[in-house]
């Protein structure tokens, strides 16, 4: 019989996340992977500016803050200084795809040997539910009260499509957390990304479709349904690139 206990790499405290938020699941997956891959003493994480800005309050390993959108540049500086350490960034869709798009594109193109965990919940959560680059067409948010209008401000952006043709990008996958099965699949994508880094193969990014019940205006259960029925249509799951 299996048992389930939380890994040491996560602090056993009540998180600040909203009920049903995907960050809580993903923070645990990161901590489990750091434990299972035995890299607690080798890992350095870069936290974003966004709901997960205080990820270092929950993870028990070295973490650096980064200015909004700049985590891939900070990660570059750290990884280039300590090539034998395992370096990953944990970023939201505003952080990575809006203000930080230049940083992620160039870090990927340079082939920085880092892992990027990109949490896509279609909104800016920390600041009150504004539109993000990943907000779906027609989706109502604090700043698209009439629904996102593609002709006016364009459709949602897919970072995996942007990065897939980059020679130095070796692994891209998109998972979600809508069920234990999907959570375990996402965990394996993230494990592979860390393994690829440790094998010095190149840059990898895992996008995770994550629920934001509070700013989608849904119950936690319905938010998962919304991902399975609607968000995945725009952001298909699976391995996009595996060199």
């Amino acid at each position: 019989m299996t048992t389930y206990t939380l890994p040491d790499e996560i602090r056993k405290i009540r998180s600040h996340y909203c009920p049903g938020c995907g960050h809580g699941i993903l923070h645990r997956l990161v901590a489990e992977l750091v434990n299972e891959l035995d890299i607690t003493e080798k890992v350095i994480a870069i936290a974003p500016v966004g709901c997960a800005v205080i990820a270092y309050d929950y993870w028990k390993f070295d973490v650096s803050e980064a200015a909004h959108g700049r985590a891939p540049a900070v990660a570059t500086g750290i990884k280039r200084s300590l090539p034998d350490k395992v370096v990953f960034t944990y970023q939201g869709d505003g952080d990575l795809l809006a203000i930080g798009l230049s940083e992620i594109v160039h870090a990927a193109n340079r082939g920085e040997k880092i892992s990027v965990f990109f949490v896509n919940n279609n909104v800016y959560g920390m600041t009150g539910g504004q539109m993000a680059p990943t907000t779906l067409s027609g989706q109502k948010t604090l700043t698209t009260p009439y629904g996102r209008n593609e002709t006016e401000i364009g459709p949602p952006i897919d970072i995996l499509k942007i990065l897939q043709d980059f020679k130095n990008v070796v692994y891209l996958a998109r998972g979600t957390v809508t069920s234990p099965k999907e959570i375990n699949k996402t965990k394996e994508y993230m494990r592979k990304s860390l393994q690829i880094q440790m094998d010095n193969k190149g840059f990898s990014l895992i996008e995770i479709l994550s629920p934001c019940p509070t700013y989608w205006g849904m119950t936690a259960i319905n938010a998962l349904k919304h991902i399975n029925e609607t968000v995945v249509k725009n952001y298909p799951l699976g391995i996009i690139k595996d060199e």
Binding site: Y56, D62, V63, E65, A73, T76, G77, S81
Partner: protein, 356 residues
Amino acid sequence: MNDKILLCGNEAIAEAAVQAGCLFYYGYPITPQNEISAYMSKRMPEVNGVFIQSESEIAAINMTFGTSTTGKRTMTSSSSPGISLKMEGVSYMASCELPVVVINVMRVGPGLGNITPSQSDYFQATKGGGHGDYHVIVLAPASVQECADLTQTAFELADKYRIPVFLLLDGIQGQMREPVLIGKPNNINSYDKTWCLTGAENREPNVVKSLYLNDNESEAHQEKLQNKYKLITSNEQRAELYKTESAQILIIAYGTPSRICKPVVDKYRKKGIKIGLFRPVSLWPFPKDELKKLDLSVEEYLVVEWSAGQMIEDVKLTVGSRKPVNFLGVLGGRPMTVKEVEDKVETIIAKHGVHI
């Protein structure tokens, strides 16, 4: 490196940094500091350091941030508009207490301005160009030799106080060639690095951050920074006093303008005029203590800047308004001439008739 070589200021800065153990440089093209990046792109592979030309100055300052969290010496350089882009990063580094060296080879602003030299970033550097109550140490060389020496001083001060240190020089210094002896500091690794991010092995995890959501912690952190600035202000003021003995006219200038003023001081000293030059080397902390000591004999101050007048405010804060603080400012990057300074000194002398 034990004999003099002919280098431009920018190259001297780059080599001095490498000799000071800086093996991580991140830069972005902008005139008039391009020689630094070009030099580093050749030199870093020779010392198996890292050179990256980043996608923007913003990325460069954040790569520098990253390397600095690991305890390694690191530097970035740019010029005025690029330094504006780096200001958010510098503000983060000031709060995270990260030792970093930032070189600003000043050009004319605001806006795209001109690629010719200027000193119009004084406020940006000394009054904090980014957000929040913070300071960075600002050093101002006036020769290629000082470009090299102050770069190495910058790395020491950055590590000693865990603070970003700026070198503020103008385009002429960056591009001018002079013989220079590059030093080889030996105290590179004598600083506490237990706070760094290296992977939590046999220690509690470290966090490098500037976010303090708890009010008491937030206030305590700010007080810690302010105490550091007080300590630096009392310990690290630097200035050159040139023929200032019982000076009645005191010229105050830094960087290249100070060298334009020296022949004027020489000329009028020969004529029996008690005139001297006070050259701030540290712009922050402003060398107010030394300046105050000279105040007794001084009857007229003359501040000479390659700007509309910025350092003059710190001079007035120091010496007050009992004596006139005259100003000569050259704008737009036009070369400043010795004659202009002489003419200004003549008008000051004329004000006082013969006895001065």
